[in-house]
Every structure is written in structure tokens, then in C-alpha cells.
Subunit: 225 residues, 2 copies
Amino acid sequence: MSTGADILSVIMGSTEDRGIGMSADREDAPAPRRRGRRPGQTETRQAVLNAARARFSTDGFTATTIRAIAADAGVDAALVMQFFKSKDELFGAVMSVPPAALERMTDAWQGPRDGIGERVTRALLEAFENDAEASEPLLAMLRGAIAKEQAAAQLRDFLEARLMKGAQAHLRDDADTRLRVGVASAMLVGIIVARSVVRVPTVADEPLDTIITTTAPALQTLLAP
Amino acid sequence: MSTGADILSVIMGSTEDRGIGMSADREDAPAPRRRGRRPGQTETRQAVLNAARARFSTDGFTATTIRAIAADAGVDAALVMQFFKSKDELFGAVMSVPPAALERMTDAWQGPRDGIGERVTRALLEAFENDAEASEPLLAMLRGAIAKEQAAAQLRDFLEARLMKGAQAHLRDDADTRLRVGVASAMLVGIIVARSVVRVPTVADEPLDTIITTTAPALQTLLAP
DNA sequence: GATTAATATCAACACACGTTGATATTTGAA
DNA sequence: TTCAAATATCAACGTGTGTTGATATTAATC
């Protein structure tokens, strides 16, 4: 049941990073837990956040349980409630794309019109495939958008106010351009859904470069008509 | 046992001629319900299916409760369990796109290469926007794909074995064409997600024709390179 | 009319969930 | 040292869930 949390704890941190040491003790032994505060520097809060991000991104909001998150982090469920006071607040704390990843995505819109289709396609899809820090919050929002209006709003905001706005900083600012950027983003989200959520074989089994090569010319037509 | 379910769901939304006792009793009166079998010809099973399809398509699998479906259909929850023996089986009975709607989508791939981008885009998006019989099962699968592997598999099958296969009947059958059809479908799914699930304003507020006009040339590039 | 099967409701089960209050242990400062 | 705050667990609560078994009412068949 454990997800890509190990990778994550190596990469570590997100917008909530406190800049302290890592080492991330995963629990797998059914140890008879001692009761009080643990000795040494405490990093449990971060472990809970990582576990929550991983769970929410794979199971969605409703199907993710506080108890499961707590178990993943090797912690009692009540402690999770003590840190973040409700499941809703924990979800909110988890859904934020780190600025660095966002910048990498929006920078792709800059540059000559010639290669814009490929640049944008590659930036977004590669970020999603290789950067758990960027993809997990996005997947959490996407999956959460189904059940939680909060998540839909957050994803809307990310796409609209951050990704698309960041794109338009490098483009013209008329209604037509806005629409084209919106449709292009939607298309790329579709490819992400097909690959990572639904896992349609034709799209999911192909190497990412093949997908990019196929997709880019269509995006080019859309973005540089 | 979903034997008769598919047939029934095809018959259902005919908007006219239900033959005999229509009535369509939606709950609105807090009537003290009588207990046994209701008089007249019974159509409750269909009402349950309709309510379930609507619920699953808007709330997703996990958040949809048997009790809510039963209430929508004006029926006791236990009766739902008697008809379909579990929530899983009810979900399975609901997720099937009627053949007529499917045919309308796949037929669009037929014809001259010139207009294929627009034809396909229009067929899929319009079917989704105007035809609840087609869109509700699809949305149910899409929303369910997050939490239920069953739903992801069903949606995979629909896209892969039905929609894409139906498309390829009218096209060449090499690996490259298959990939292009897959990517095109994924892109259109992305637009559906942006409009109907996440409701990104830039894409969702525009009239459908504007979206189609913008999208079609990109699909054309992809499908007739 | 009598029997049987289908349709319907009701009451309750066991279980998992989010959440809470009491309590134990450690840390860090006074 | 002393003591409050932070960190941790435990036991339990109320609620809502899918599901079940008993039972009532009607329709269809003989």
C-alpha cells in the first residue's frame, strides 16, 4: 500500500518546509509504541504532510482516511488532528505546488513562437512525470476536485491564476490568446489524466518522448496560429 | 447480474411513451409510505438506475450513498440492495454508454480527411454537452476512476476498445495512427474535464461553438499530419 | 379463492470514520 | 530543580455507512 513516499522524503519539503534536517524514519516494524514525546529532534509534522500528500494524490479526498495517513507516518491518528485540526485543513495544507516547479512550467511559454508547442508540452508533462513535488499536489487536487469543492476551487485557481496567468505574461493579452492558452492547458491535463489516472494503454504505455513528439505539433497549431 | 440493465438503460430516456402508468413519482411529499408492493405496473427499478446514474456522475463513487440514491428514487435503501445486490454491482450496471450515442461519436471519424478535426471534436463535445444519456455514464466513470479501479478499467475499456476501436475502423491501422487517435481522445477528455469537472472559467464560460472552433484545427493537425 | 412470487418497508447489525478528552513522556527555559 | 509547553498515545464518542433478515402488501397463476 505504500506509495512513492520514499522518493518524496528524499526530495523532501514543500511550501511548508522548515529547513531542518531530514532522515525520515518510515515505520514498518509493529513496534510497541512508547507513549510520550519522542526523544531527539522532531520531524513528525513533515512526515504526516508527506504521507497525506501521497495518500490524497492516489486515493482522492474521500477515500483517504486520517487513520491511514497516520499509519503511513507511523503515528497515532489523534496526533494528526492535533497538528492540523481537521481533515479539511490537512488537505488544504497539502495542496500547493512549490513555486520552483510552477516557474519551470510557466517559463516554457517564453521564447520564440516556433518551438512554443514543444516547449510547453515538454515542460508540463515532464514536470508531472518526474517531479513528485509538483505532481502530487496536482493529482491530489484533480482527484479531490471530484468530491471536494474546495479542491476544485484550488485547482481552478492553480490553472487560471497561476499557470495560465504565468503563461500570459509572455504572450499577448487579448481574449483569443487567453482562450487558446486555456484550451492548451486543458488538453495537457487530458493527457495527464489518460496517462496517470485512467491509464489508457495506448497513451500510457508509450514513452513520454513519443507522446511529446506527437502532441507538440497540435499544440503549436493552437498556440501559434 | 446486470443482464437486463444495459437494454433498459438504452430504452429509458425516450422522453415519451412510457406505455402505461407513467407517474414518475419523485419524492417531494413526506408521505407516510405504504409498506408493500405498489399498485400498477412497476417501474421502480428504472427509477433507481436513473437516480444512481445521476448521483454517481455528479458525486463520484465513494461520496454517493445507497441511501441517497434510494431517497432520490423515492424508495427504501433495502430495495436497492434487493435489485442490485451490492453498491458495486449497481455502479457496474450504471456505467454503460448507450450504443446509439457511441455510434454517433465513432461515425465522426468517417469521411474526408479535411474536416476530420472539426467533425470529431464536435461529435464528442456536443454529445457530452447535450446528451445526458451519454455523458452521465462517462462522467460517472471519470469521477469513479479516482477511487474505484473498477471504474478506471471500465473507462479504459470504453476509450480503448469502443471509442478508439470504432475510430480506427475508419482509419489506417498502424501504430502511429493508434497513438494519434489515443492522444486526440485524451485531449478531448481534457476539455471535458476542464469544462464539466473543474470548471475553469476561461474554458467553461465560453459557448461550446467557440471551444470547438478553437480546438478543431489542433485536432486536425494531429489527425491528418 | 388459494398459493406463490415479486415488490416494498422496517429495524437493526457490524464496521469504519472523524473527532475528542484524558493522560503519559520529553524538551526547554526559568 | 521545577514547571509549562510540546509531543505523543489511548480509549471512547457519535454518526453514517453498506448490508441483512423479518415482514407486509400486491400481482400473477392455478
